[in-house]
Subunit: 201 residues, 2 copies
């Protein structure tokens, strides 16, 4: 079975292969969100959890060892000044997709908005997601909120996510650890279960 | 023109009327989220912005004076212990829908998940939303994130929203003002423009 993934204009279009065995009740799909070089741009500022990439690499190895489904969600910016432009779009080395793994390109923070992700998951019979990646309160949270409200049983792997210091609209600077913690608190319960990578490894 | 709204089982089903004049380019629809008695339950704890209901009432009056579209988003809980059960589902007096206004019932935090909202907005030619209500970082934020990623030009009216103190997964207690401020900071830019009621009144 082949499904055409959502791919950006100008990139080679390769059919995505769904292994036959995924049509049975499957383990959760691992969604790796925005693990791209853009996040190394100094414009993002100070970051928390420098181990996130290494942890994502370990999770990918575990998923692959089980033959479990992996979805790489990559950001394709519409803003010409985005850090995801040009070389910023390249995948971080710890998260390079293997041949046959799914890549879904999105142009908003949510992996579910105007992408083929729902169709892809439905075709494969996947109703459980484990989400990790960048940045916690933006694309990770938007994707997890969408997943939870769409009815997917959703886990967010806290220590495989990271974010950056942020200034609020009143000018107060919140450190990345605070932004991260409150984002996960907002997600836990109504949208997802927040877990740690050790639950899988 | 009539459109059947999403209504809970067991409630009377009234067709929603879309005024003819809404098929032209319209002002933003005012979305009032979860303005229900449930939020008065003491289980929610300490709240910020006690003026939110009065501000919502003023916004509704302004929208109605213009003949501009109003959508009341109400929560229909699936959890039998939800504060939205029973009398908790009743609308706050400041936000009672008038005859002919739209009411959309949702059972997740997002007004866009498994509801008729997209169809309703598309039929009426509405692509701009002004969102207010409860609670800031949950149903308001989920609805605003979904709206922004779906391509609606979205505003969130900060002082017509409110939330409650919240404990994060590490046990730290965040006051409602902090939860509110960081939620609005997360929304502003990628999903919505955060504004104040005085921009409309």
């Amino acid at each position: 079975m082949t499904i055409q993934g959502a791919v950006p204009r100008g990139r080679p279009v390769a059919p995505l292969r769904i292994p036959q065995e995924m049509n049975r009740l499957s383990p959760p799909a691992l969604l790796v969100v925005d693990a791209q070089a853009a996040l190394d741009d100094p414009r993002w500022g100070r970051r928390n959890n420098p181990d996130a990439e290494r942890t994502i690499g370990s999770l990918l190895a575990a998923w692959r060892a089980e033959g479990a489904p992996v979805v790489h969600v990559h950001h394709l910016p519409t803003d010409p000044n985005s850090t995801f432009q040009g070389t910023g779009s390249t995948t971080k080395p710890e998260a390079l997709p293997l041949d046959g793994e799914w890549v879904v390109w999105k142009s908003t923070p949510s992996a579910f908005a105007a992408t083929s992700l729902v169709r892809l998951l439905e075709t494969a019979g996947i109703d459980r997601l484990a989400i990790c990646g960048f940045v916690t309160e933006n694309s990770v949270e938007a994707t997890a909120r969408a997943a939870g409200t769409l009815g997917y049983r959703t886990q967010v792997i806290a220590d495989a996510c990271a974010t950056f210091d942020k200034r609020d609209l009143d000018g107060r600077l919140w450190c990345a650890e605070e932004v991260h913690a409150l984002s996960l608190a907002n997600l836990n319960g109504d949208y997802a279960k927040v877990v740690s990578a050790s639950d899988f490894l």
